[in-house]
């Protein structure tokens, strides 16, 4: 087989890499990232049951995640103060969730400060995301 016959194959591979690069952020890649960060901090990977528990508990402050997002965020939530509607958090019910890294990082940073008065650890984020991904 002449060597140039491999061109289409190489082209297709390059294209799929580009597409994968453009679409890099998915809920699964975020979970991988948080799991890897948790591992390097000496902690285990995300656990859905632990995530559900975390989401529905207060952590020293007035609010829990569920205060605005609802106990099971497969449907719309409502802001605890302003009553503004918040779209579902579970990716199966809202495909826009966990697709944009700056957005995900920004909201974890802010909302964890509101609920825990500190930023969340990688394992806490992995727990919550593992749970959200499990909701179908």
């Amino acid at each position: 087989m002449p060597w140039f016959r491999f061109f289409p194959l190489a082209g297709a591979l390059a294209l799929s890499c580009i597409v994968a690069g453009v679409m890099a952020d998915t809920p699964a890649t975020f979970l991988d990232r948080f799991n890897a960060e948790a591992r390097s901090a000496g902690e285990g990977p995300g656990n859905a049951a632990r995530g559900q528990d975390f989401f529905n508990k207060t952590h020293g402050g007035e609010w829990k995640c569920a205060s605005c997002h609802g106990a099971v965020p497969t449907g719309k939530g409502e802001h605890a103060v302003t009553r503004k509607v918040i779209e579902p958090m579970a990716p199966a019910f809202n495909p826009q969730r966990f697709t944009d890294a700056p957005k995900v990082d920004k909201w974890f940073r802010r909302n964890c400060k509101d609920v825990l008065s500190r930023e969340c650890t990688a394992r806490e984020k992995a727990d919550v995301l593992a749970w959200l991904i499990s909701l179908k």
């Binding site: 802001h79 103060v81 302003t82 503004k84 918040i86 920004k106 802010r110 909302n111 509101d114």
Partner: protein, 160 residues
């Protein structure tokens, strides 16, 4: 001008001047638009509450609000400095200019400005606390056109 001209002239003046002025005033008084807002404004300022139009309050309040986003009425609403600059520029360019509406208010809150309080003086404290309203930040609970910037009194329905 003879006396007989007067009623006709008065009617003409009313139709040509007073009537359009009333229409213009009625509109100018109650419409607060967010048309032309940068995308960052909608994304950052209307996730947790409705998008408050810049003309609802003056420059002093907007400066105060935008300088303290990390402690934004009990929540962390901090954003990166480039976005903050972009939103601030737009808010200040379209802020209210009339003295009564542009005055600085406690905590830079629109809802604590003299102007807002006077406009809502017939609403009892117990009404604000209803579960269907909950907060002065929830304009749309009573002002059906609030999301589109229309606060005309005709559109007000106070929920039970």
């Amino acid at each position: 001008m003879t006396n007989s001209d007067f009623p006709r002239r008065a009617a003409l003046a009313f139709i040509l001047c007073v009537l359009p002025a009333l229409v213009v005033l009625a509109r100018a008084d109650d419409v607060y638009t967010i048309k032309g807002a940068p995308a960052s404004f909608t994304a950052e300022c209307s996730s947790c509450h409705m998008a408050y139009a810049p003309s609802l309050t003056g420059k002093a309040n907007w400066r105060g609000i935008m300088a303290g986003l990390d402690k934004h009425y009990g929540v962390d609403a901090s954003i990166d400095s480039k976005t903050q600059q972009e939103i601030s520029t737009w808010l200040l360019a379209h802020a209210a200019t009339s003295a009564r509406q542009a005055a600085v208010s406690p905590e830079f809150r629109i809802s604590r400005s003299d102007w807002f309080i006077r406009k809502h003086d017939e609403v009892a404290a117990s009404v604000w606390k209803r579960a269907s309203i909950k907060s002065a930040a929830n304009c749309g609970a009573c002002h059906s056109g609030a999301a589109g910037g229309d606060f005309n009194e005709d559109g007000v329905r106070i929920p039970k």
